[in-house]
């Protein structure tokens, strides 16, 4: 090695032109992508990674890929002979109470993932008579009153409520699944969606581009006039509508990149979802942490109506108290599903936040929701939105009673 290092002559020769051209193309592509992302950031202010060196080391890891790998490994079927012992060891280590699970015969659970998402026996979680009950088994990390639209993550560390929930948009939309089409909006439809050789695009986008505006969004093409939103919709998403607020509009709130399911939308102006809070009321928050051994399904904490959900794709940091104390904006960095609606006192929102081990968030009444997907997530701060109007046209959303199971967290 020493001889080779010292005596091998250095010979320089030019690279083939093709490689140089390819390099230039890659540089140009990355530059354009950066410019596009910068433009998006104006609409979706980036939530930056802030914290100690541990946080930055974790931030450099491919957490989403690791999460999916973790989920895949834990979905593998275990040999029957291994299941009782394996699950008892897991239960002992993480403190699960095996007396309350639905299937006492542990061989029923084919994988660790299935055991992790176990159901409980009927009646083991009586629902208290109170205005607000716990939606999950876990540890209360923090609770209190929201002031100046800042939620306290831990003492002295806050994050923006608007970043957590997304800002609302004044957008008129209708659900074609009910067969009732507002004639005014139908006219908007004609302008929003044109169909050329089966490819749908937004006229709004076209006009926006002519005006120098930018537009990016994902949406489904308008649904057919029949059918129910309860039916699973597996049609692939099509990039097709994209509209940003007109230049010069307020950027105090983040604008949405909204997934309109079977709906069409007109120009929107950002607005806080909690803008209508009454003077005699206040906004409260509570954070519950679910440890790995806890029952991982969540239930309705009150009688309320879920009007819409917003899926924010993001990172998948651990949400343990250790990280909550060190990583600012943890709950607005991570992938989450904001379920927004109302209860008897006004606004009500519930936000299941994913983590490295549990990136998959399931909502029982939303079969189209897919979290922790491999595809590149939308820009930071943007979300896809679906409305649950079809669940109950009278109530305008999905009604839930206290204690009703809503969904849960699955491994990976």
């Amino acid at each position: 090695l020493a001889n080779a290092w010292n005596n091998t002559p250095t010979k320089w020769y030019p690279l083939p032109v093709g490689i140089g051209a390819l390099l230039l193309a890659v540089i140009q592509f990355r530059k354009r992508k950066d410019i596009e992302e910068d433009d998006l950031s104006e609409m979706h202010p980036r939530v930056k990674l802030q914290g100690g060196w541990q946080v930055h080391v974790l931030g450099a890891l491919p957490l989403r890929n690791l999460s999916r790998l973790w989920g895949y490994l834990n979905s593998l079927e275990l040999p029957i002979w291994l299941r009782p012992t394996g699950f008892r060891v897991y239960a002992w280590f993480f403190g699960c109470n095996l007396d309350e699970i639905e299937h006492e015969d542990l061989t029923h659970y084919k994988s660790l993932g299935a055991f992790f998402y176990r159901k409980l026996k009927d009646g083991v979680r009586p629902i208290a008579t109170a205005d607000l009950v716990s939606p999950a088994d876990g540890t209360v990390l923090h609770f209190g009153v929201i002031e100046n639209h800042q939620v306290e993550q831990v003492k002295g560390l806050t994050y923006s409520l608007d970043a957590l929930l997304g800002s609302s948009s004044i957008q008129e939309s209708h659900n074609v699944e009910f067969g009732e089409r507002d004639p005014d909006l139908a006219a908007v439809d004609d302008h929003e969606f044109a169909n050329v050789n089966g490819i749908e695009y937004s006229l709004d986008r076209l006009i926006g581009q002519e005006k120098g505006q930018r537009a990016v969004s994902l949406s489904r093409p308008p649904a057919s006039d029949s059918g129910s939103s309860d039916e699973e919709d597996n049609t692939p998403l099509t990039p097709f509508d994209a509209s940003f607020p007109p230049s010069g509009s307020s950027t105090d709130d983040q604008a949405s990149v909204a997934l309109q399911m079977g709906t069409s939308s007109v120009r929107r102006m950002p607005q806080r979802v909690t803008a209508g809070v009454k003077k005699e009321n206040e906004l409260y928050f509570a954070v519950i942490y679910l440890a790995p051994g806890d029952y991982h399904r969540f239930h309705s904490p009150a009688p309320w109506v879920v009007e819409k959900r917003r899926h924010f794709a993001g990172e998948l940091f651990s949400v343990s108290p250790f990280m909550a104390k060190r990583l600012a904006n943890l709950f607005v960095l991570n992938e989450r599903v904001a379920l927004l609606g109302r209860w008897k006192y006004g606004f009500f929102g519930m936000v299941p936040v994913g983590a490295t081990n549990v990136g998959s968030i399931k909502i029982n009444f939303d079969k189209t929701l897919r979290t922790n997907l491999r595809r590149r997530p939308l820009p930071a701060g943007s979300y896809t939105e679906a409305r649950y109007t079809a669940a109950s046209p009278v109530l305008g959303g999905q009604p839930l009673r206290p204690g009703q199971e809503m969904g849960g967290f699955e491994l990976g």
Partner: protein, 32 residues
């Protein structure tokens, strides 16, 4: 995993919790 609740309630709403407390589904969290 974590669940964040954000809700509007009258100023008389009181949490019946302690930070760090273990809680289970359906247990009381607060009342007006």
């Amino acid at each position: 995993s974590t669940i964040v609740l954000v809700f509007e309630a009258p100023k008389t709403f009181k949490f019946e919790l302690q930070a760090g407390q273990k809680i289970k589904v359906g247990e009381k969290m607060g009342n007006v």
